[in-house]
């Protein structure tokens, strides 16, 4: 593997080192290195155009890297990577099937390619709730059915690693819930799942670990618990003047940061001592009418580290 970093053969299921892809003048993936361990439900996050799909495409052999390298199941030679791909079920971007073939025939094609035989087909159609629609042509399927068929195809042959790129794209809340349940079921069965998604709250509910990528660079990788932990965040209301309250809290010795958000002031505190803050405010003549812990979400972290705004993801390459 042409790489600046050393990769251990007995390491993670996926391990990239300085993985890079340049499309002429555009650097789509800029030397990213991350690891996915066995049994993780790994969320791969990033704004549109950040390089998520290109990265997955390189892992799946449909895009040739222009730098760096990767290991799948510890192997990095072309033969090892080809063999490793037989242990992966994956779908990239939209569900890709033959429109004139039925759901079942499309799965027959996929099963033959995977070299796993056709015995699993009815089982996976049952799991994703398409058993009764097995004869429906792909072109006649709704978007939700197409997504479920793609998920069924990834499960053929009982792969150890499942890679899903935006599996809930275009689904209604019910469809999203079904997909989430299927992913949870797969995780419960010990599968390693690599999930790329825009839906941060879905990722937070589903994943154990996340990596955040922006402009082709990896900017954060940690467990979901670690990434959402940190300073204590508190929301405050009191008095008529929010800016006065902001100034006051800014003077509080334990405050790390203070900002006005909608109808309240949000403060990051060094310690979980709300009584002290309340006393401090009262001592300055402001009596707080609201003082509550603000749960830091993956979305907050994502917004913070990518510099995105609430109205959008900001500028991308």
């Amino acid at each position: 593997m042409s790489s600046d970093k050393h990769l251990t053969p007995d390491g993670p299921i996926i391990e990239t080192a300085g993985l890079t892809k340049r499309f002429r003048k555009t650097l789509a993936v800029d030397g990213i290195s991350f690891q996915v361990e066995r049994g993780q439900v790994f969320g791969f996050l990033g704004p549109n155009g950040s390089g998520k799909t290109t990265t997955i495409g390189m892992l799946l052999g449909i895009i040739t890297p222009t730098g760096g390298g990767f290991r799948l199941f510890g192997g990095d030679s072309p033969a090892e990577i080809h063999a490793a791909r037989q242990r992966i079920g994956a779908t990239l971007e939209t569900p890709n099937f033959y429109p004139y073939l039925s759901c079942r025939d499309n799965l027959r094609i996929a099963a033959n390619v995977k070299g796993k035989g056709e015995a699993d087909i009815d089982g996976v159609l049952e799991i994703v709730g398409l058993a009764k629609r097995r004869k429906t042509k792909f072109k006649a399927c709704s978007l939700g059915m197409k997504q479920r068929l793609a998920l069924a195809a990834t499960m053929l042959g009982d792969p150890e690693l499942i890679i899903l790129d935006e599996p809930a794209n275009g689904l209604d809340p019910e469809g999203m819930r079904e997909i989430r349940h299927i992913i949870h079921d797969l995780a419960d069965r010990g599968k390693t799942i690599f999930l790329s998604s825009h839906l941060l709250w879905e990722v937070e509910r589903t994943c154990t670990h996340v990596a955040i990528i922006q402009l082709g660079q990896l900017i954060r990788q940690a467990s979901v618990a670690e990434i959402t932990a940190g300073t204590v965040s508190v929301g405050l209301r009191g008095g008529d003047d929010l800016s006065a309250l902001e100034t006051l809290v800014g003077e509080y010795p334990g405050a790390v940061s203070v900002r006005v958000h909608e109808d309240r002031v949000i403060a990051e505190l060094e310690e979980d001592d709300f009584a002290s803050l309340n006393r401090f405010a009262a001592g300055r003549g402001i009596y707080l009418s609201h003082l509550a812990r603000e749960q830091r979400t993956l979305e907050d972290v994502f917004m913070e580290v990518t510099g995105a705004t609430e109205s959008g993801f900001g500028e991308v390459q």
Binding site: G57, L60, G61, I62, I63, T64, H82, R85, Q86, A90, T91, L92, E93, T94, N96, F97, Y98, P99, Y100, L101, D105, R108, I109, A110, N112, V113, K114, G115, A153
Partner: protein, 277 residues
Amino acid sequence: MSTTAVLLRNETLKLRKRLAFWVTMGLFAFIKVVSHGEAYLDARNDPEKTFALPAAWSRIMSDESMVSVIFGAVVLILLVSTEFTWRTARQNVIDGLSKTEWFWGKAALLPIVGAIFIFSQILIGGGFALAGTDLAAARSAIVGGPFFQALGGFFLAFFVMGSLAFAVALAIRSSGPAMAAWFAWIGFGERLVVLGLGRLFEGLRPALGYLPFGTSLKLLDYDAFDPAAYQRAVEAAEAAGRAAPEPVAVGTAALVAFGWILLLAAISYLWFRKRDL
């Protein structure tokens, strides 16, 4: 199951269920039935005309053979380029095929589609001609050595133009533009190259007859493989006051055809390997 068996199984499943393929086949068969049926009826109604084997092979495997090549190329372009439109080529590789395996799976369509169209043409034309043949009075075998040699030439010609269609479909990845490019080449592209290069380099003129389309036309001439049929064509030309047809250097044309097939396959493979899916 071996990879080859998997590839063939998948390709035949897709082909069997593809309406576009059956529509194209139906149209092709209709054209052939009309054309050869007309020849059969003409021979029945006009004692001056004949449409009987083995002489009828000259008509069945010459004049209209390009129709098979054209229909076959259209089907090949449809089958290959839609794999990119639907992104199923990408999914096949994601599911575990290597790009090389995918390429050879598609390349296997060339002989399959070629055989379907060539044998359909022979069966339909041969069927009508056989109906008009007095088997008891036939002076020679209705299927002899020249037939099989011409059949070989027919396949070679199909492979040359099919390889070109395959290369164009892999390069352009969209059926409409790929068909337009292929038809442009046989319609006027090759002629323009022959004219342009022929003017610039006079010494090249004999070789310019061996560009892909020109080579295919030489190999689609049944009379080139059957001395008796060629003699009849010469006599017919002299009787009509026309110049006798030039004899075809079959061996040279076959060698050049192999060269084109290898070259086009190599270019297609290297180009496909290099590009992302």
